[in-house]
Amino acid sequence: MYVLDTIAHRLKRGCETMAYPDGPAPALPDRHGGALRVDADKCVEDCNACVPICPTQAIFRPEGKSVALDLGRCIFCAACVEVCPSKAITQTGDYRMAARRREDLIMGEPEKEQVRLAVALDEKLRKLFGRSLRLRQVSAGGCAACEADTNVLGTIGWDLGRFGIQFVASPRHADGLLVTGAVSKNMVIALQKAYAAVATPKVVIAVGACAIAGGPFIGNSQILNGADPIVPVDLYIPGCPPHPLTILDGLLRLLGRLEEHRSNGKH
C-alpha cells in the first residue's frame, strides 16, 4: 500500500467522531437499562426480596427502615428490578451516574431516589485542569473490562483528546489517577507510590464497581474493597464496566465542561 492509498482510505472513511456532547449522546443498548432508581416508599411492608438476590450486597433493608441501594456496589445485573413486586427499583435508561461523594450513590429515601450527579471541581482546580487534564491509569485488581472501556475513549469514535484529557505514561506527568479494580493487596504499594508521584493538587477517579466498593469480589480477603482506603477519591463512576459514555460524562462533569458544550450546541 502506498502513502496516497492510505490517505485516500482515511478520507473515504471521513470523520468518525461522535457529535456528543455538542450533539445528542449515542443511545445505550436497549437491554442496558441505565442507572437505577429506588422509590423506597413503594416498598411492600416486610418485603425483603431484593436484598438476598443481589450478588454484590448493594441492597440493604435494616429492620424498620426503608430499602437502600448503593449504586457504587451495583453491577447492573437487574436481578432486583425483576424480583421487586412493587416496582420500587426501576431502570431509568440514563447513562449519567457519576458522583462526587460516596454517599451520593446511595438511593432510596425521598429526595434521594436517584444518584446525585457529580458537580464540577472548584474554581481553582477547574482553572488548572478544565482545559487540560492528564491522567495516569492504575489497574489494581481490575479485570481488564473497565480498562478496555476507558481505553475506548481514546479511539476515533470518542476522541477524548478533543477535551484536553489524555492518559500519560508516568504519574510524574499526570494531574491525577484513574483507578480501576478492587485494589488487590498486592497492588497497594504500587498504588500508593503512583499516587505519591503525582504532583499536588491532584484528583483521583474511581471507575467501576470494583474500584468503588470491590465489585463482584466484595468481601474477599485478598482485596481492599475499592480505592477509598488507599487514595482519596474525587469522582465515582459506577458500572461493571461503566459504558464509555458514562465514563466520559463523569469526566466532563468533573471538569465542568458539559454546560459549555450545551451552550455551544445551541449556536
Binding site: 450478588p55 479485570c143 481488564a144 474477599n220
Partner: protein
C-alpha cells in the same frame, strides 16, 4: 467408566464420581503423567485439593487427537514428590502453584518460587534469575505500565539492546478467586466467574455454567448452547480486531490502528445488543442464558455484523498490504514450534506456531458438536504469525456467525438446574479468544465446591512471552507482549 493406566477417561463437559478416579502413590502419578505427555498428551491442569489434613494432586490431561480428557489423582500426601517439570517443562508453573498453595514440594524443580503470593505486599520481591558480566544490564518494568493496561512486573537481562532472558513476575492482580469458591457456589459466584478475566467473560462464564450443568448431570437447552456459541465468537471478533489495531498502533501504522479501534467497539456493541453489556455480562447462566436473541434482533445483529466484517476486512487489508508493517512483524518475537509444544502453549499463540490446538475442534462441547469453526494455523511462530492467525480467525468466526445466525436452535433458552452431585469432579474446556479456558470443579459430600480450579490460557502462555523475547531487541518488548495480549488477572486469579 473407562480407565487408562492410572487415568479415568471422560469427554469434555462431563463429570465423574470422585471414587471412580483411581488414587495412586504420587510418584506413580508423576511417572504415568510424564509417559502420557511424552506420547503427545497435553497438561490442561495440575493442581492439589485438600484431603484428610494432607493434599492430593489432580492431573487433567487432554488427548487432542482422540477428543478425550483423562483425570488422574494421587493418594493424599505431604512434603516432597518427584518433579514433573524436570522432564516436562509445561508443568513448571503448575508445580510452583501447587507448592505455593499446598506446600507440596516438587523435588528437583529448577526454579521454585511463588506464582502470585504476597511477599512483603509486593509479589516481585525476591530472587530473579540474573545474567552477569561486564556488558550485561538489567531492566525492570512494571508493575504499573505506560498504557491503560493491567499490572505485572518484567525483569530483563540484556546485553545492549538484546534481551538474553526475561523473567515475568505476576500476582499483583490476585483477588482470591479460587479461595472464594470453596464451599460455594454463592450468590456472587456467577459475577465473579464473569470477571475472572474481563475480556473473556463469555468463555469463563460458559466454562463455569457447563461445569455446573455437568455436576448436576444436566445440559443447557440447545437454544442456550447456540446463543453461547454466538456470543463466544463475537467475543473473539472484538478482541482479535482490537489486537490487530493495537499491533498496527505499535508499529505506527495509524490507518488500521484507528479503524480497528472503532470496529472493535462495533463488535462489543453487538454483544450488548444481545444482553445489554458490551462484555457479555448477564448472558450466560448455569442452566441456560438469561436473554434471548429473537428473530428480529438476530436479523439486526446479522446486518450490523456484516457491516463490521466488511470494515474489518478493509482495515486489516491495508495492514497486510504494507511492507513496512510486514517487515516489523516477520522474524520478531519467535517461539519455535518445538518450544511451543514443550511449554504447552494453547490457543492462538500455539496455532501461530503451527500447532493444531483448538478446543472447539478437538474437544467439541455444546453447540460446537453440531457446527464447527475451521482451525486457523500459521507456522512461523513470530509476531507475523500471531497477527496472521488473528486475521484468519476474524474471517472464519465471521463466516461461522453469518451461518449460525441463520440456523438458530428453537426451544427454551433456560432450564432449571439439577442439584450438584456430591463427591463428583467435572471438567469443562472452552476455546476463549486467547485459548483454552479450563474449569475443574470437585464437590464435597453435600454438593458444595470442595475445590475449584480455573486455568486461564494465560497461565500456559506467559512462558511463551518470556521465550519470544530471547534474542529480541528490548525495544520490541511492547509489540511482542501485544502480540500475545495475555491476561494478568486471569493468571493471578
Amino acid at each position: 467408566m473407562i480407565t487408562y493406566g492410572p487415568f479415568a477417561l471422560l469427554p469434555n463437559a462431563t463429570s465423574i464420581p470422585w471414587a471412580q478416579i483411581p488414587a495412586w502413590p504420587v510418584a506413580q502419578l508423576v511417572q504415568a503423567t510424564a509417559a502420557e505427555l511424552s506420547r503427545g498428551a497435553r497438561l490442561c491442569a495440575w493442581f492439589a485439593a485438600p484431603e484428610d489434613a494432607r493434599a492430593c494432586i489432580i492431573a487433567v490431561l487432554a488427548y487432542d487427537a482422540d477428543n478425550t480428557l483423562a483425570v488422574g489423582r494421587s493418594e493424599p500426601f505431604a512434603g516432597p514428590y518427584p518433579s514433573l517439570t524436570i522432564t516436562h517443562p509445561q508443568a513448571h508453573m503448575f508445580e510452583r502453584e501447587v507448592w505455593e498453595q499446598y506446600g507440596l514440594i516438587p523435588a528437583g524443580h529448577p526454579w521454585l518460587k511463588p506464582v502470585r503470593r504476597m511477599n512483603g505486599n509486593a509479589p516481585a520481591n525476591g530472587e530473579f534469575f540474573r545474567v552477569t558480566g561486564p556488558e550485561v544490564h538489567e531492566v525492570a518494568v512494571g508493575p504499573v505500565h505506560a498504557g491503560v493496561i493491567e499490572p505485572g512486573h518484567f525483569r530483563f537481562q540484556c546485553a545492549g539492546e538484546e534481551v538474553l532472558h526475561l523473567e515475568i513476575a505476576l500476582g499483583y492482580q490476585h483477588r482470591g478467586v479460587e479461595e472464594a469458591l470453596i464451599g460455594g457456589p454463592y450468590r456472587g459466584t456467577m459475577s465473579q466467574m464473569e470477571t475472572v478475566s474481563g475480556d473473556t467473560t463469555i468463555a469463563h462464564a460458559t466454562a463455569y455454567a457447563t461445569v455446573m450443568e455437568a455436576l448436576g448431570g444436566s445440559e443447557a437447552p440447545l437454544r442456550a448452547q447456540w446463543l453461547r456459541a454466538v456470543a463466544l465468537e463475537l467475543e473473539r471478533l472484538a478482541n482479535h480486531t482490537g489486537d490487530i489495531g493495537a499491533l498496527a498502533g505499535d508499529v505506527a501504522f495509524l490507518p488500521t490502528a484507528a479503524a480497528c479501534g472503532k470496529i472493535r467497539g462495533d463488535f462489543l456493541n453487538l454483544t450488548a445488543l444481545i444482553c445489554g453489556n458490551r462484555f457479555g455480562r448477564g448472558l450466560v447462566r448455569p442452566g441456560g442464558c438469561l436473554h434471548n436473541l429473537e428473530t428480529p434482533r438476530a436479523e439486526q445483529l446479522l446486518k450490523r455484523l456484516k457491516d463490521a466484517l466488511t470494515d474489518t476486512a478493509q482495515a486489516v487489508g491495508w495492514f497486510w498490504e504494507a511492507a513496512s508493517v510486514r517487515s516489523r512483524f516477520e522474524n520478531v518475537g519467535t517461539v519455535f514450534p518445538a518450544q511451543a509444544a514443550e511449554i504447552g502453549l494453547v490457543g492462538l499463540a500455539a496455532r501461530a506456531c503451527g500447532l493444531v490446538r483448538d478446543v472447539r475442534y478437538d474437544h467439541p462441547a455444546g453447540w460446537h458438536r453440531f457446527a464447527q469453526v475451521p482451525v486457523a494455523v500459521w507456522p512461523s511462530g513470530d509476531i507475523f504469525a500471531r497477527a496472521r492467525v488473528r486475521s484468519l480467525e476474524i474471517q472464519r468466526s465471521g463466516q461461522y456467525l453469518c451461518e449460525q445466525l441463520l440456523a438458530p436452535a428453537d426451544g427454551e433458552r433456560f432450564s432449571e438446574l439439577t442439584p450438584l452431585a456430591p463427591d463428583t469432579l467435572a471438567v469443562s474446556l472452552v476455546e476463549g479468544w486467547r485459548g483454552e479456558v479450563c474449569h475443574v470443579a470437585l464437590t464435597d459430600g453435600v454438593g458444595h465446591f470442595r475445590r475449584y480450579k480455573i486455568v486461564d490460557p494465560s497461565f500456559h502462555n506467559w512462558t511463551g512471552v518470556a521465550l519470544a523475547l530471547r534474542g529480541t531487541a528490548i525495544s520490541d518488548f511492547p509489540i511482542c507482549n501485544k502480540s500475545f495480549n495475555l491476561s494478568y488477572c486471569g493468571f493471578d486469579l
